[in-house]
Symmetry: C2
Subunit: 232 residues, 2 copies
Amino acid sequence: MAAVRTSKPSGAARKARRRATARGNYHHGDLRAALLAAAERELAENGVEGFTLRGCARRAGVSHAAPAHHFRDVRALLTEMATIGFERLSESMRAHACADPPGSPGHIAVIGKGYVAFAADNPHLFRLIFRTGLLDADDARYKTAGTDAFMFPVRAVAAIAGCDDPMADPALAARVIAAWSIVHGFSELMLAGQFDRAAYGGDRNTLIGDLLPRVVAGSLAKPAPLRRAAMQ
Amino acid sequence: MAAVRTSKPSGAARKARRRATARGNYHHGDLRAALLAAAERELAENGVEGFTLRGCARRAGVSHAAPAHHFRDVRALLTEMATIGFERLSESMRAHACADPPGSPGHIAVIGKGYVAFAADNPHLFRLIFRTGLLDADDARYKTAGTDAFMFPVRAVAAIAGCDDPMADPALAARVIAAWSIVHGFSELMLAGQFDRAAYGGDRNTLIGDLLPRVVAGSLAKPAPLRRAAMQ
DNA sequence: TGTACATCAGTGAACGCGCGTTCACTGATGTAC
DNA sequence: TGTACATCAGTGAACGCGCGTTCACTGATGTAC
């Protein structure tokens, strides 16, 4: 898991940190970034249930009153974490997208793999993103990060369908929503341990890679009844 | 929203309640059922974040120590609620399933509609079901209720494919998982308010009804590139 | 280069809160005789 | 039918906990002159 990036890892802050370390550390130097990194560990280890501001401060090695200088309240810190989560989700999709060029049927599948991979690697962060009840859902940066992530399936469908704005076309919009739904649902059910019960031993990449292109670009012909023999 | 059913709404309990009401109410008469009903209101109004045992006791009109006689701890109460949630999810799928006979391609779609309808009508209860971190995930009744719900898509695919155990066939199992994923993901994203951002104005029944049969029973031919003109 | 001073970013004590759980208790109920 | 008694299902006080937040403070930093 990569370290949390600060929004502005300024050179000045790094310089201050070096000074602080050299001279003793009454002033931390870059506590904001340290708190975000601590919050990520807190989230990964305790889940969102056990997430506390005091715990983050402890992990960062400062008094529990210190975070108030950097985050208005615990909600603001969680919203920042969720924003970072959305950004990382986008990064994961972008990184996987290279495997298959836009416009090819496989493109949507590799984006989906990037989505599921992020969820698998960052379970608590992934779930936090969608816990809007705990966040400042109207925060501008959070909203932007969410929309940026949503644009991945939108652009993929646009490239396949050869149009600019798939969301303007009800049938194409349904494909976008369906693609998002299937990877999201798969991720959530996986994290909730539901596939243990389901005794589903299949490889997630096979499922996403095989079925997702069909959901997005599959034939519009009326589906024929499916017989077992036809599957093999 | 239907009232929470007790596991054993015995006649004796109802009789005791009547007596208690008539004579004063030191003894409640059927506090277990009343606590479950209170827990449902607590959940619906406060969400799982704001759910407390004391709050349930207040809603039921008893002291906060009273629930201990009926539920070992708050986890046990939540697990009971989640079990009831799974049972209601099954009921919703069963109720919708009548609209289209098993084996027909539309059968899986109406089951999916039942799934999404339950989530839309019971948002907090729906989300609780999958918050395994808050529950006794090994509780026998909880596990049974979950497996019962899972059997709905399994049976639907079995009927369409004409085999007994689709989960034994990797390709069919993938269809089951995909069907579950798409309705689950759609439900979660809907409840998280993500479709506001997506500006998706489409009707959920259209999406599920049109695409879900395709996911489950759609052609296995290599999907052709999708052009906008082809969609209309 | 030194110095005075404003500002910044920490500290630690304290506040009030509501929680889950425990405990001794007591009133109500049910039953054996 | 009456009575003694065990059991059940409540009460209310109390405990300890950790939380978020506030506050006056202070040490460190940066800058104007």
